[in-house]
Each structure stands twice: as C-alpha cells, then as structure tokens.
C-alpha cells in the first residue's frame, strides 16, 4: 500500500534567460495505490504525470508532501534506508527502445537484478536462470527465443514485455507504468494492457497507470480509480468507469471529447467540450487553473481556486457521489464520449 499526500514538486529552471523560473509540476497531489489496485492518472502534456510517476518510483525528490509505503513515511528515513522501500515500486518506461541497454542481451539484463535478489534472499545462483525464464514466460514470451538476444532483435511489444519482466524481478508491490503502451503498435497495445491486468490479478501487483489516452485506462481494470491531472493539480477523481461515463469537470470533459470518433462504429457525444484556447507555458496562477480555457468559466473561476471534493457549485448534483470528487465551481455532467452506432 502506497499513499501520497500533498505531493508538491516545483522545478527551478536555472540558466534560463528569464532567470530562475519556477515551474510547479505538482501542486499537492493526494493518492493511494492499494495492493492489486489500479490507479490511473490522465492529463495533457505537461500536466505532471511523469513527474508524479518518478516521485512514486523514488527517482525524483519532491518538495512537499509525504509518501507512505507500507505505513512507513519516507521522509523519516535516510536516503539509504528508503532504497529497499522504493525498490518495491518499479517504473515501466514509455519508450521500450531506450529502456533496454542495447549492448546487453536480455539474459544479461535480467540476470543483474535477479542476482541481487538471489543474494538478498540467500538463493543459489542457479535460481537466477530459472527465474529469468519463469518471468519471461509470465509476461508471455518465449524465454528460449528472447534470452540470448539483444534488444534490437525484438519487436516493440516484446521489448515492453521484457521491461515488465525486468520490473518483476524485484517482486514489486506496485508497477508505475508511464505511457507504457503509447509507443507500441496499435495491434499489440491491448496485449500489454491485458498483461498488466493479469499481473494485478495473479500477483496482486498494484498498477499506477499514467496515460493521456483515457481509453487505455479502462483496460487496466474496470475496478480501478482515475485521477485527472491538470497543471499539477488533480481536478477530478473517482472510479474509472464512473468518470468515463459521467465526467463532471470541464477539463475531464474536454479530454474525453478529444478522443477521436470511429465514424462508422460510433457517433460523437452530444455535448463535446472544446477548450477555448491552447495550453500555454508559464501561465499565471490564481483562480481555477483551467479558467482561461474553460468554455464555462465565470468570474468566480478567475479569482477563486476550487479545491478537490469540497467546493460544489450551484449546479452540483452529488459532490462526492460514489467517491467521485472534482474541483470545479460549475460541475455538470455532459455526454461527451462517443456512442456506439449499435447502441
């Protein structure tokens, strides 16, 4: 079980001509990933998804907030003592090409962490080879074929599976999958998503799934939770299916509206929401972060910042219905997602 409370990250861009510019990448994000659970983060480019994933995986420090792993607050531990905890959280990179060392065979790639594991657990060396094959079989590839090969000899899907297998060598509790399928061929995407789901179910591994394509979040598990990030802030959160079917925040709605419609199979949603402007770098804070782009923003939005799950506007129907929370003064359900032709 991993929980994060108030995770804040501010990048200081040094050397910039504008002097030390502060880029708030995360603004007090709370989340929890349970054993075997599935939590997805969606958001536009630059919304802070990757940063969050890296913080959770212990690859990046944060400026405020607390991460608690198995009940142990990480801020109380020294850097050294933290290591074993973070080892239980493994990051799966977006790019399976760069995630594997091109100069090492798959066998070598898997062997190193397994050795470490064997040493920790006092297992014999022979265990390593067996385990490598076992893990590869678990992620659905033929160890005999894959082990002696170099990454360039494998397809993208196979590579991503190897990456997952490598993450599994540490018997992780949580896998952080950052855009794990966006660089994989369409025909193979579902395979990886199914694998992650399968791992959740079989091994009880929690998955923190990061994507800008909400549709994929469904496939990690319909029992999952979805967080919508916008400029470092969670603007909406709830059960995945619930948010997809009943998004409340206009930003979530624009994200969902942006999903292309498969004409011929689907019709566009009746109330597609299109943001008024494009995202801009270095926008000033103050008020609702989305106000400038929001088609429904009012003066209040410009000046006051809505807080997740607390501020319901006049149109609020159910502030926290089914655990769904949002940060908006004017929440309203809109049917934005495409509807299947047959339905």
């Amino acid at each position: 079980m991993i929980t994060g409370t108030g995770i804040t990250k501010i990048f200081k861009q040094r050397g910039s001509v504008l002097g030390a510019r502060e880029v708030p990448a995360l603004r007090g994000v709370d989340f929890a990933v349970a054993k075997g659970g599935a939590v997805s983060f969606i958001g536009e480019s630059g919304s802070g998804k990757t940063t969050l994933g890296r913080i959770v995986a212990g690859l990046e420090t944060h400026d405020a907030g607390e991460i608690v792993i198995d009940g142990v607050p990480m801020s109380t531990l020294s850097h050294r003592r933290r290591q074993p905890y973070f080892r239980r959280i493994q990051l799966i990179h977006q790019d399976p090409y760069s995630a594997l060392n091109p100069t090492r065979t798959i066998h070598q790639t898997l062997e190193a962490p397994l050795r470490l594991r064997a040493r920790q657990a006092g297992r014999p060396r022979s265990w390593v080879d067996g385990r490598a094959a076992e893990l590869l079989a678990m992620v659905g590839i033929d160890p005999g074929y894959v082990l002696p090969r170099y990454p360039h000899q494998l397809s993208g899907g196979m590579r991503q599976r190897v990456v997952i297998a490598r993450a599994l060598t540490m018997d992780p509790e949580v896998l952080v999958a950052d855009e794990a399928v966006s660089m994989i061929d369409v025909s193979l995407r579902l395979g990886i998503l199914a694998l992650l789901k399968d791992l959740r179910e079989r091994l009880g591994v929690g998955v923190l799934f990061i994507t800008h394509d909400i549709a994929t979040a469904r496939y990690i598990g319909d029992d999952g939770e979805l967080y919508v990030l916008y400029r470092g802030q969670v603007v909406e959160r709830g059960a995945t299916e619930k948010i997809i079917s009943d998004p409340v925040h206009p930003y979530t709605q624009s994200l969902l509206s942006a999903i292309p419609v498969l004409h011929g199979l689907e019709r566009p949603g009746a109330e597609r929401v299109v943001p008024r402007e494009m995202q801009r770098e270095g926008e000033p804070d103050g008020g609702c972060l989305f106000a400038r782009r929001c088609p429904f923003s009012t003066e209040r939005c410009e000046n006051e910042m809505p807080v997740l799950g607390r501020d319901g506007g006049p149109e609020q129907e159910a502030g926290q219905e089914g655990g769904q929370e949002y940060a908006c003064f004017h929440p309203r359900r809109r049917s934005v997602i495409p509807v299947g032709v047959g339905e």
Binding site: L59, R87, A99, T103, R104, L116, P143, G144, Y145, A167
Partner: protein, 310 residues
C-alpha cells in the same frame, strides 16, 4: 543474420539457452569483431599494422643483441640489403634502431592512453553521474586542464622533471591530456543517464558499480576505445616531438631521438645522406598512425551489437 542461429521456438521454453553463458558471449563478441573487420580490407590492414607494432614493441629488442652492432666504416651508409634503411652516425643499422626503439615509444603511448582514458572516463563519469556539486567541481578542474596549454607546459616541466621511464613520461602526458575525454564522457553520461535503461537500473536498486561498469561504460565503449587509440597516436606524436625538439632528456634509443640526431647531427634536411635515418622513424610513425586510423573506423561497428551482427 544473427550469430545465435535460433529460429523461433527451436528451444523449448524454460530451458536455459546455451547461448547466454559468458564464454559464449565472449566468443560471439570476437566473432562479431572478426566479421566487422573483414567487411573492409582496410581494417584488416590496420589490424595487421597495429599487431605488427605490438609484436615489435614486445619482442623487438630480443631480435638484436643488447649492444647493437656498429660498422665503423659505414657511417650514414645508404640503404642496402644488409641495412634496408642505411646506418646512423656510428654505423648502427637504422632498422634495428627503429625496432628496438619502438618499445619505449609504444609503451609511453600505451601508458598515456591508459591514463588519459582512465582519468578522463572516471572524472567524466563521476561528474555526469553524480551531477550537482561534484559535477561543478570536476568540470572546473576539467576546464582548467583544458585551458593549460599542454605542449608549453611540457616544455616547462621537462626542465623540472626527468621523464626517466616511458611510464613516467606516459603519466605526465596522461595527466595533462584527460580533459577532452572527461568533458565528452560527461556529456555522454548526462545524456545516457536520461535514457530509460540507466534509470531502470537505478530503480532496480542495482549498485552504482554495476550501473557504471555494466550499463554506462559499455555504451560508451566505442567512444572510449576510439579515444584510447587516438590517445596512443597523440602521445607518440607529443613524445617524439619533444625528443625531436631536444627538450626531453633521453637515456635510451627511441624514434624521437633518431629524428633529432638525423636532423641536427646528420643534416638530414640538408643532404640526402642522412635522409633514410630521418625517414625510417617518420615512416614508423606514419604507419602506426595509419594503422590506428584504419582501426578507429571500425570501432562503432565493433561495439554496437546491431552493426556488429549485421
């Protein structure tokens, strides 16, 4: 196609494939190297030249008596069958001098290369990997190293320090010359560091030793190997040049001394008589450079598994 001829499914799942043991990998590596070299005849020539020099460096002095024979009546003799490159000022065979003098030159070159590359790589790696304060400190040091003009400093140093053994000489040349490599290795490290596989290794909690030794270094191997070879030529060049200028004290015979004596004692630039004496070490230097240049050409392919196996 691939070395490991292994059509899909030929090996039953679960079995540990034979092709993964270290020995096999090593064998495959060398086979790959061989393949890369064979792709162009020039590379084979390069290897041939470098091997030849290596043999000369190791076994050269054994080919001749400790006291090289002199022919008192054949000072600066022209090339002949007995003396392919003629003789020197006291009638010693020039070829014998080149052969016996190679060890000093090559040893210095090698020592320099090892020290430059080791220092440069280490500093670059540490700076790039740890970033932060270490990086700043080490990079200032590197800037300094780069800003201090090597040859002039060597001239100044040569009056204080007696470079009595080739290793000492190599040490000095190496200590003066690591800056460029350090800077390049650092920037490579910085960019590799952002690559997923390094981050993954860190996430897996693999020891830094492993990350640097097994993940970072092999990725930089072609670069490092290339620099190493280039450092050898650079060191030979600098060292022979210093001997040629006459600013380096010398005790034993080597190519630079030959150049110096040929030009300043024999008048090789003035009359053709001592020309073979001058040309022999020059040709040796050129040949060594050529060999190394030809091999450098293959480095990328040798260390990149994809190019190697193609």
């Amino acid at each position: 196609m691939t070395v490991i001829v292994n059509p899909e499914g030929a090996i039953s799942p679960g079995a540990v494939p034979a092709g993964t043991t270290r020995a096999t990998l090593r064998r495959n590596f060398w086979r790959g190297v061989w393949r890369v070299l064979r792709r162009k005849p020039s590379r084979m020539a390069g290897v041939g030249i470098v091997v030849l020099f290596a043999v000369i460096g190791v076994a050269g002095p054994l080919l001749y008596p400790a006291q090289l024979p002199r022919d008192d009546n054949a000072l600066y003799a022209p090339p002949s069958l007995a003396h392919p490159f003629g003789t020197d000022f006291e009638g010693t065979d020039v070829l014998a001098l080149v052969v016996t003098g190679a060890r000093y030159v090559l040893l210095t070159g090698l020592a320099t290369a090892v020290i430059t590359v080791a220092l440069g790589t280490l500093i670059g790696l540490v700076a790039g990997f740890h970033r932060g304060r270490w990086d700043t400190l080490l990079m200032r040091l590197t800037d300094m190293n780069l800003a201090i003009p090597g040859l002039p400093l060597l001239l100044v140093l040569s009056t204080v320090w007696k470079f009595e053994s080739p290793l000492e000489m190599g040490l000095v040349l190496g200590v003066l010359g690591w800056g460029g490599i350090a800077r390049a290795v650092r920037s490579q490290t910085l960019s590799l560091r952002e690559r997923g596989f390094i981050e993954a290794a860190r996430g897996l909690g693999l020891p830094t030793r492993h990350i640097i030794g097994r993940e970072l270094l092999p990725s930089m191997a072609p670069y490092i190997a290339m620099n190493m070879l280039i450092a050898v030529t650079g060191a030979v060049y600098a060292q022979v040049g210093l001997f040629f200028l006459g600013v380096l004290p010398f005790e034993s015979n080597n190519w630079g001394v030959m150049l110096n004596l040929a030009v300043f004692n024999g008048g090789a630039l003035t009359t053709p008589a001592a020309l073979p004496y001058l040309l022999a070490p020059l040709i040796a230097i050129l040949l060594l450079t050529l060999g190394i240049v030809l091999i450098v050409d293959a480095m990328d392919e040798i260390f990149n598994p994809r190019l190697r196996e193609e």
